[in-house]
């Protein structure tokens, strides 16, 4: 996700990337586990499969696809929360569904998507903070 430091390291990134590569290399599912030779992955891997599938269709290098998919998940989250916020406002205000020109319904969508994205950012920041705290204290 980072332009300046796109390294796939830290937290579960290495495992996720390994699963993604394993899926890209496999012919039939379940794919092989890169931690345990000749054994299938004993983990849920549908999210990795989605990242691998888009990378495969787009024909981009896996490392690039991994980073794009991380930002794509957030981008799709933004679009969907915008749509849901706007729909709720229109339903509550009794507006016509196809009318997207009303300024307030656009604001409702913007507010909803901003809130969702802020929650995501605060979750990431707080988990990073807690992780750094726990690693200092216990490890």
């Amino acid at each position: 996700m980072r332009i300046n430091k796109p390294d796939i390291e830290g937290l579960e990134k290495f495992m996720d990337y390994g699963f993604m590569l394993s899926i890209l290399k496999t012919e039939y599912f379940p794919p092989l586990d890169h931690y345990l030779a000749a054994e299938p992955i004993n983990y849920y891997y549908f999210g990795h499969l989605i990242a691998a599938l888009i990378t495969q269709i787009a024909k981009v290098p896996p490392g690039m696809g991994y980073n794009f998919q991380m930002s794509n998940i957030l981008a799709l989250g933004l679009a969907e929360s915008f749509s849901i916020g706007m729909m709720f406002y229109q339903q509550l205000a009794g507006m016509d569904v196809s009318d997207v020109r009303r300024r307030w319904s656009l604001w409702a969508g913007t507010l909803s998507s901003t809130f969702v994205m802020l929650v995501v950012i605060f979750t990431i920041l707080s988990s990073n903070y807690l992780l750094s705290f726990s690693s200092k204290t216990f490890f």
Partner: protein, 128 residues
Amino acid sequence: MTGPEGVFKFFLAVEALGLIAWPLVRKVFRSFPDQGWSFSKIIGIVLTAWLAWLLSFLHLVSFNREHTLMIMGFIAALCWVGLRPEVVSLRLGGFSKKSAMIFLVGSVTGPRFCQSCFLFWGFLAGLA
């Protein structure tokens, strides 16, 4: 492959996956202001991924790019030909011209703007 070229290809793949499932999604998300366009991407992705996984898991079709594109074509045929009344109503309206323009520009640029913001945020984080 350069970064912008990769971003463009990835963006095209996501939009294509959304487009193949749109008639089906539109039928379900009719009450939404964008008629399900924003949800079509994730549903298109999930449908294609699930079908590719199932066929490969059953050892019917191997998992590679050509077969995935064929699966995409199959889903597109089901959605666009099977749901022909939806497609016809899509062409006839449901959107006013101005609404359609706002919606189209917003739905394409909005998520990509967000994606750019996150990439830029990552750039700043990398500098720190």
